[in-house]
Amino acid sequence: MTEPVLKVEELSCGFNTEDGYVRVVERLSFDIDAGKTLGLVGESGCGKTVTALAIMGLLPKPSGHIEGGTVFFRGNVLSNTSAPNLKEVRGRNISMIFQEPMTALNPVHPIGKQLVEAIDLYEPEIHQTDQRIRALELLTKVGIPEPAQRLKEYPHQLSGGMRQRVLISIAIAGNPDLLVADEPTTALDVTVQAQILELLRNLQTNYGMAMIFITHDLGVVAEICDEVLVMYAGRTAERANVTKLFEVPRHPYSQGLMASIPRLDAPCKVPLPAIEGIVPALGNLPSGCSFSNRCLYSDNKCKKENPPLMDAGSGHQVACHHWQSLG
């Protein structure tokens, strides 16, 4: 067995707020192998982005902090409460792309300058003209037409899809082992989303990058992920191989999520089996299982005890007291 690129053990983090400490991610564990994609799925506020930021050491200071747990990168401790070697790794070995490329790029600098800045950081020894050639190479790699012209342009002159491509090119400038993609296609049109997903898939096969793909769209998960972690209110609800998850979703939340997507091949104008109620506020989770107040199958046990992550066979894990009886 090869060592996973990234291993997260019992990661918990949260924020200090006016109303006291709010835990946003609770005892999250997962690992990712080289060349694989792990999907972090859940609705807004379930802690998927905070997990990514915690891994990158980018939790907003001073309110946010890692409460416990360890992140290992290639077997080395990357971040626990103190993280000395994070700077070394971040960007070069692990890099990140964000949802809104317009806010992630600097609007007052041309694309080229921003790309060269990244190249200069990873390969300070190479000459300026070579840096430009590297930048051109990178833009070509991410499928930007007329790259020489684009280098001189500013972010606002590019379309959303092109901006995301530029952001990806900056992210892969250091040939990272792991790319953390936080909803990279959510702000894009479906046709452009398809282009970006294709690009990420190709980059992954060519360079063997591992990827954490954060999204709320189960369709995108099915397209790009190998493993999936379904999060609900900061906790793992279910973890499985992507085929398994879609064939036999075990957790009532995953089942509900899948049933509530309108499908193209389903009959129209019929009510969707929606999950009733709303996601609880993180500071005010129900006792026991955090999904218990919306779950069709919850009973007294669910309201008292928080279910541990249980093994449902062949790497499939589920945090539900009743998974066996749900079929």
């Binding site: 479906v190 989303q193 997507i261």
Partner: protein, 327 residues
């Protein structure tokens, strides 16, 4: 032949582009360029397309929030461009709109009660006591607690705020509601709840809906008929089942192919649409889609395709649709 409740004929809406020191008009953004569509009583028509295709402008022009450059909007047999202010006031009760972001469309300094009573005050209906009772009834109709009448919009979740937006839209018993990306900002589980609510209200109140969105699977689920827009024009229109089973326009096909399907075993071959949507300031000559179309021929650059009937109620505007049927 039934008379449609809403008929839009050759609607055009241009926005001037001004450049230079004297802001001389240098061209037009042809946001909507010759759109015709009909909505019948109790029917939902979906209008789908990528960002910038002009779908929201169609919605706003129907409500006269934007004045049409040319073309007609006919509601219940009356041409809306010829009627005066007083008549508009009466008509406004019958046509309502729901926006994407309820946080922006609800006044944050007003309580839910004030927000819901406002339509009655504007139209001078009822006494203060009655209006309060009506507001409470509206809240119940959209699945909210009548006691939340004194709360402010920020105290609600996104889905609940959208319910308030819907309650306000149905306050005056409208005949037609334009839903402009009404569920796009919501999480999947909440989106399903709102879709169900719209379906239920439509059945109970015999509402006609014009449902504008970028997500074809959501649009299809809610609609009886779907119109696909590209660069200010409708390129295909058909029943919801037909548009998915027999998409005829290459753009519709590409749009369907680009939607990620929540099933990892899906082996659909996908033709990914290249490039971005061209600028509506200088739309491509001939068929506007020819720059991105996989089937375009030299002819497509010159001839402007007309809407042709594929079969009853299925119309497409493509020069080569007959040949493409067998591909």
């Amino acid at each position: 032949m039934k008379i449609p409740i809403l008929e839009v004929r050759e609607l055009r809406r241009y926005f001037p582009v001004r450049t230079g020191v004297f802001l001389k008009k240098s061209g037009d953004v042809r946001a909507v360029d010759g759109v015709s569509l009909k909505v019948h009583r109790g029917e939902t028509v979906g209008l789908v397309g990528e960002s910038g295709c002009g779908k929201s402008t169609v919605g706003k022009t129907i409500l006269n929030l934007l004045k049409p450059t040319s073309g007609q909007v006919i509601f219940e047999g009356k041409d809306l461009s010829t009627i005066g202010r007083a008549q508009w006031r009466l008509l406004r009760r019958k046509i309502q709109i729901i926006f994407q972001d309820p946080m922006e469309s609800l006044n944050s300094r007003h309580t839910v009660g004030e927000i819901l009573e406002e339509p009655f005050i504007i139209h001078k209906l009822g006494s203060p006591m009655q209006r309060r009772a009506w507001a409470q009834e509206l809240l119940k109709k959209v699945g909210l607690n009548a006691s939340s009448i004194g709360r402010f919009p920020h105290e609600f979740s996104g889905g609940q705020r959208q319910r308030i937006g819907i309650a306000r839209a149905i306050a005056l018993q409208p005949k037609l509601i334009v839903c402009d990306e009404a569920v796009s900002a919501l999480d999947v589980s909440v989106q399903a709840q709102i879709i169900n609510l719209l379906l239920e209200l439509q059945r109970k109140m015999e509402l006609s809906l014009l449902f504008i969105a970028h997500d074809l699977s959501v649009v299809r689920h809610l609609s009886d008929r779907v119109a696909v827009m590209y660069l200010g024009q409708i390129v295909e229109e058909a029943s919801s089942d037909e548009i998915y089973q027999n998409p005829t326009h290459p753009y519709t096909r590409a749009l369907i192919a680009a939607i990620p399907v929540p099933s990892p075993k899906n082996t659909r071959d996908r033709a990914i649409l290249e490039g971005d949507v061209p600028s509506p300031i200088n739309p491509p000559s001939g068929c506007r889609f020819h720059t991105r179309c996989a089937y375009s021929r030299p002819d497509c650059q010159r001839k402007i395709p007309k809407m042709e009937e594929v079969k009853g109620n299925h119309h497409v505007s493509c020069l080569r649709w007959r040949e493409l049927l067998h591909l």
